[in-house]
Amino acid sequence: MSSLALLLPVEGVRITGLTERAHPLDAHVDGIRNTSETAFRAVYDVLADDLVSFAYGMLSDRRAAEDVVQQAFLELVGAARRFKGDGRALRAWLYRSVRFGCLDEYRRRKRRPEIPHDSVPDSAVFEDHMAGQFDPELEQALESLTRRHRTAVLLKHVSGLSGEEIAVVLGTTRRAAYAVVKRAETNLRARLGVSR
């Protein structure tokens, strides 16, 4: 999903809160628009870990999560010249792109079920780094949530996004986003309480 539509505020979404405060990525926005390699590297360095963590929580598969994040940056390369907004909008754009990438991955898995990357023997380079990081009980609890709830809870508790940013990523109003986060937290707490 490389469409600029990702950037545009969905009707009813207040994104003024995203543009009022300075953001560390503000300094790189012009460079991103000019497709400067330096700016892309800087933004990758700032956001890659958070984005991969979010995607990892969504997909329970580290390799797939990294691929989705890389794809989001490649889509940003294509859409960079049309990008409008500040550093916060850029971060929301990337999270939203990663979210759509994860949804595509879900659809792909449904069409063609396969063994997750993490469960097959990997190269020596990645094996130690990837092994046994995802708690099965936590994975089960997250799996029990709807995708929207899972997205909301991960954006808040793993990525640390604000209510406004979560609203932009989910493509909804801030009030609706708060409601989604609240329900997701309640459901996750209930699931984790049962399993522990």
């Binding site: 497709t35 892309f40 996750l188």
Partner: protein
């Protein structure tokens, strides 16, 4: 509501993966930029050609065989010929006369005379001009008009002549007519008027 369990999902991108991602992004940026740069270069060259063509064509207007710009003159001639059918024939004859006046190489003049004859076809006036040049090669000076360089306007002769008072021509039309005639022709005309 706090979820310390979710902190386990925070992971870092492996350095090798980071390097691989950044390389891929850099390649994408370069390949994304290349067609745009090529397109701009092509447009710049096309614009330069469009702007330069009339200037070069104008500069080549008086070129004769052997000149650097002569091929350009021949190349642009079909464009001019679209508006003026005889331009090529007139150009060839004018070039031939210029070569003769410039004391160019005899072989070159003869060669160009052949070219001019082919271009002129059966136009009697232009053919006659070509014949004069060729004859001049055999007998130098035979067809040269000694007064050609000093085609003057005998304004006083006409205005002092009482006959001129009876003519209805204005000064400007007289001047226009006289500029195309030699001194002898003017004298002959004056004599004819006085005979009447």
């Amino acid at each position: 509501m706090r979820f310390p369990e979710l902190q386990a999902l925070k992971i870092e991108v492996h350095p090798d993966t980071r390097r691989r991602h950044l390389d891929t992004i850099s390649r994408a940026i370069r390949s994304n930029r290349a067609p745009r740069v090529r397109r701009l270069r092509l447009l710049a060259v096309a614009a330069a050609l469009v702007l330069l063509l009339p200037v070069v064509a104008l500069a080549a207007k008086d070129a004769v065989p052997g000149d650097f710009l002569y091929p350009i003159k021949r190349l642009t001639e079909p464009i001019v010929a679209a508006f003026d059918q005889d331009v090529a024939a007139q150009n060839r004859v004018a070039e031939l006369e210029s070569l003769l006046d410039a004391n160019a190489d005899v072989d070159m003049i003869r060669e160009h005379a052949d070219t001019a004859r082919r271009t002129v076809g059966d136009d009697p006036i232009l053919t006659d001009r070509i014949d004069r040049v060729v004859e001049d090669l055999v007998e130098p000076g035979r067809n040269r008009d000694p007064d050609a360089a000093e085609r003057v306007v005998p304004t006083t002769a006409v205005t002092d002549d009482p006959i001129s008072d009876t003519r209805v021509e204005t000064d400007s039309t007289i001047q226009q007519r006289l500029t195309t005639t030699t001194v002898e022709e003017t004298k002959r005309a004056s004599e004819r008027h006085s005979d009447r």
